[in-house]
């Protein structure tokens, strides 16, 4: 499937890697603050940590990364995992099931 090219330039300084496309999904307060449940993001961030800082600036997320967990391709991941092209990323705000 061919994706439309993003008009915006990838963020500079976030690792300097080749730009890649990742699918980001949002839940709970991050979904509300982002104003959408998911988006495709073109980024130069090298890790989920870099990507979160980039998106935090764009969407004015109030939660610092230290309060979140991250999932890559639907499983828990480390913040410093190298971010590959085409992965899905979910930033997981503090949860309270049960």
């Amino acid at each position: 499937m061919k994706m439309p090219r993003s008009q915006s330039k990838p963020a500079a300084g976030a690792g300097g890697a080749t730009p890649k496309r990742v699918q980001v999904r949002y839940f709970a307060q991050l979904r509300e603050q982002a104003g959408c449940a998911e988006e495709q993001v073109r980024t130069a961030a090298a890790t989920p940590a870099g990507l979160y800082e980039e998106l935090r600036g764009r969407h004015r997320f109030t939660l610092p990364a230290g309060r979140l967990q991250v999932a890559v391709n639907d499983d828990f991941a480390q913040w410093d995992t190298p971010l590959a092209d085409g992965v899905s990323v979910v930033f997981i705000p503090p949860f309270a099931g049960g």
Binding site: R25, F27, A28, Q29, R31, Q69, A71, D74, D75, F76, V90, I92, P93, P94, F95, A96, G97, G98
Partner: protein, 149 residues
């Protein structure tokens, strides 16, 4: 088996699924929506889950319970969507040949679920305000052991 449900839970039906001749003990837990939290009057709740990961992590917790305790079977179901006061938000059920393992495993499942399964809860208050509930900060063993002083 761990699953999410967008329709009300039927604890009788869930428990009957666990019945088998060698199960001498069955322990189940129902977590229900209560009308007060942290001194505020609650009108209802909304649960939102990261389905793919919630089901994976829930299945891992049940597998751990089967490894750690001498149980026959274990199940857990968590609601998503809007819930009213008194509705069952989560149900966990365990069978074992003897009661101690059933009690311990049921407690393990519900405690681990709260810590590890990505399900968010938004409280709707009588005042009209809403809030995403955050777990208590580490070290604050809230709500603590349920014994009275």
């Amino acid at each position: 088996m761990f699953r999410l449900s967008s329709v009300p839970l039927d604890p009788g039906a869930l428990q009957r699924e666990l019945v088998e001749p060698r199960a001498g003990g069955c322990v189940s837990f129902e977590g229900r929506v209560r009308s007060r939290n942290e001194g505020r009057e609650v009108r209802g709740l909304e649960y939102e889950a990261y389905g793919e990961l919630a089901e994976k992590e829930g299945a891992r917790i049940l597998a751990e319970a089967r490894e750690k305790f001498a149980i026959r079977s274990a199940r857990c179901v968590h609601r998503v969507g809007r819930l009213q006061i008194g509705e069952i938000a989560v149900w966990a059920g365990v069978t074992a040949e003897h009661r101690a393992a059933a009690f311990d495993a049921c407690r393990y499942i519900i405690d681990e679920l709260k810590k590890r399964v990505p399900i968010w809860k938004k409280e709707h208050y009588a005042s009209g305000a809403t809030e995403w509930i955050q777990p208590p900060a580490a070290g604050q063993n809230h709500p603590g052991p349920g014994r009275k002083a």
